[in-house]
């Protein structure tokens, strides 16, 4: 059964028991051990791969060298034949035959290393997938476990603070009221600010004798005199 399926079954079967049902500490530890083992295997496989690839490269270089030598000797043989030196040509041909055997051997081992490298690469890919899968499953188990423990802690704190007594709608209503009150206060504060700002400016202007002045009797008299 997959871990997710186990979790679902356990949750359906009685939420409180999930912790004991699937995540008893022991099985989690075993699982973690499996993950560590898989990680070790992976590290070893990667090391092996490096080694095999190095050997493959070495064999590849050797192949090139032998091929070069063969064509070089073929040249010598032709030259010997051109000089009608049959004996020397034969000696060179023997050397070529020897090189060809060596070439055959190197080709085989090069192919073997190549196959081994491919196999190791596949193995590593598979192990990495497997490891990622183990880790994901472990994370599911651990998350289920901690969410449960967290829920228990939250529920306890709810009961002790009585916050659970409010329904969702009531809570929302209260929050909205608080928001409205806050907005009202903000508006009131802005108005107050505006008014007091205005007033203090007027006061300053008056002190400086600028703007509309209070009508004094002298001013009225002055105005009347000017009229006549």
């Amino acid at each position: 059964m997959s871990i997710l399926k186990k979790i679902i079954t356990a949750v359906r079967g009685g939420a409180r028991e999930v912790g004991e049902g699937i995540v008893d500490a022991n099985s989690t530890r075993i699982f973690e051990q499996e993950i560590r083992d898989a990680e070790n295997h992976l590290t070893k496989a990667k090391r092996d791969l490096t080694e095999v690839m190095a050997k493959q490269m070495q064999a590849g270089r050797e192949l090139e060298r032998i091929k070069g030598e063969i064509s070089e000797h073929e040249g010598y043989a032709s030259q010997a034949l051109a000089q009608n030196n049959e004996a020397l040509a034969l000696e060179v041909a023997e050397k070529i035959a020897q090189l060809e055997v060596e070439l055959q051997e190197q080709t085989t081992s090069h192919a073997t290393f190549e196959k081994a490298a491919t196999r190791l690469k596949d193995l590593i890919k598979k192990s990495e997938r497997q490891l990622a899968d183990y880790q994901r499953q472990l994370s599911m188990v651990k998350t289920t476990d901690s969410v449960q423990k967290a829920t228990a802690a939250i529920t306890d704190s709810f009961t002790s603070s009585n916050s659970s007594l409010l329904s969702a709608k009531e809570s929302l209503e209260r929050i909205k009221q608080k928001q409205a009150m806050f907005d009202d206060k903000l508006v009131a504060a802005e108005q107050l600010q505006a008014e007091s700002g205005d007033q203090s400016l007027k006061d300053k202007l008056k002190q400086a004798g600028i703007g509309q002045q209070q009508n004094s009797a002298n001013a009225v008299l002055e105005r009347l005199k000017n009229k006549s």
Binding site: A150, K169, S171
Partner: protein
């Protein structure tokens, strides 16, 4: 990441948060560390934060099974399923007998990411309750 770092960060923001919200964090004792994040003016619907293995979970409780109007549960659940993807960052779930809204972050998230998550979750929860009011008692 641990809840104490998150608490120190969120409390330290005071009114300097990017989201304009003021947070008040209180760690809750228990087998697993849980942080209760109260948001000024929204104390009725706190956000609970816990760090579990490789993820950070932020959860808000919406309503209980007993608050759903009889006969409307299926319709409500369909509405929630349909709303799930359009709702930014948060998803619905049920824990025991309570419907919740939650967001999961990588354990490597920055504190600013967590702040953003908590504030979006809080906004979403208020909006969801308002939207779902027809199904609730």
């Amino acid at each position: 990441m641990n809840i104490h770092k998150i608490a120190t960060y969120l409390n330290g923001l005071t009114d300097q948060s990017d989201t304009g919200l003021i947070f008040d964090c209180v760690p809750i004792a228990g087998e697993v560390d849980v942080l209760r994040v109260d948001i000024q003016g929204r104390e009725e619907i706190p956000v609970f934060v816990s760090v579990t293995g490789d993820q950070i979970l932020c959860i808000s409780y919406l309503w209980g099974e007993d608050e759903v109007i009889e006969g409307k549960k299926a319709e409500m659940m369909e509405a929630m399923l349909e709303m799930n993807i359009p709702m930014p960052l948060s998803s619905f779930a049920r824990i025991e007998q309570k419907y919740v809204i939650f967001g999961a972050l990588s354990e490597h998230s920055t504190l600013a990411d967590i702040e953003h998550e908590v504030s979006v979750l809080s906004d979403n929860s208020l909006e969801v309750i308002a939207e779902m009011a027809d199904y609730l008692k």
